[in-house]
Amino acid sequence: MAPVHDRRAGFSRRRQYSMFIGYVLAVAGAVVGGVLLVASRFDPPLFAGMRMAAAGVTAPVSSGLSAIGRGLAVVPETINGWIFAHQENAAMKRELAVTRPLLSRARVIAYDNRRLRTLLALRDRDEQVVVTSRLVSSSASSGRRFALLNAGRLNGVLPGMPVRGPEGLIGRITETGLNAARVLLLSDPDSIVPVRRTRDGLPAIVAGRGDGAVDLRSVNATNVRFSPGDLFVTSGTGGLYAPGIPVARVVKGGSDTVIARTFAQPDSFDFALVSRVFVPLPPPPPTPAAAP
């Protein structure tokens, strides 16, 4: 490519000055970037308004694209459904025969459970679903793992609320706009969820790794063995998540820190349930009225 002689600005004062100011502004841009970076490092929600304003425009577009994708995905599914209908029917009949005795046992257990809980006079809080919506897009080019939910403050979504899918926990809301909200996924390196093992209630935490999997770390005991296939559900510690939501399954056995897979594979084709914070923070104590 031929050399460009832009630095030879000629005798025009106007061109000389505009070139000089251009470079001053370029350096100023870098400095402003550094300042913004420091500001967003020390106060992450500072620019949430601007981010969510942009998300409010892109979320409906992504939602429309996702709807088109779902519509196209229906075609091969329908064809498959017709071809494999007979095999599927036979398989479901076999499965029904296996699960029928299990169901009757579960009914007995559920009845016992209810009776014993009444005896103990335990009060159960149930999770209250705020809105059911879909995840529409994600931070696919960044190392952070955020997703965008197609519902916002207008639907009652607030920061801190847990988000779960049909299979298990997906993450929690970090920022909300009017019609969109940003979800911190479980696999984000900054995400931490307290869990317990279903088998014996062993407490642990699930921390994101950034590559789609999560790390399982034991909390209060050392030399804890995790075996492959161990199931972990939320413990309810901290009051954010309701206890008993499926979170992750251990992939490879080990001690103290092992790799696990989350149950929920966040997908724009599936629903996401936003529920209330399980135990909300108590309201601040009323300030005593000043004596007249």
Partner: protein, 179 residues
Amino acid sequence: MSTIEYNPFAPPLAPGRARALPWMTVMAGSLTTAVPVIATFPILPPLGLLMLVTWRLLARFALRPWAAAPLGAFDDLLSGQPLGSAVLLWSLVFLGVDLIERRLVYRDFWQDWLIASAAIILCLAGGRILAVPMGAQVDGAMAAQGVATILLFPVAARLVAWIDRKRGMNSGLPTGDTA
């Protein structure tokens, strides 16, 4: 398709629209994060950055020296990185390319590709250090992302060259006087 379709008498685009076109292509690159995919690791190449670097290297007067900062701010709003990371890194890339241009008077496409690769690696590594904690296991995925972005540079170069020819401004020369 004939490769010679240059018509010197074709009416060029209106100057305002021709000036806005490079900005719009870079912003369209940033907007690709709106694709309805929930990624579990960084898979999407930073296409906004790729378009910016390509415009800077192939048509150096298409974007002003200060354009990197506002375009970076737009990218930060959509990418999930903390606001300011692309503003800083993209501005540094522009200044760095300026410094290289002073030394390297004659460049060919391979050198452009090399400079673009350095810029992409700088931005991805910088973004990883600024946004993601050190202990995260994202390095392998981001290396693959960087390789994919570098391999996309020739495609971006063809696209930018095509747009630049269509918009009818000879961006190899300073704006204002087409000598």
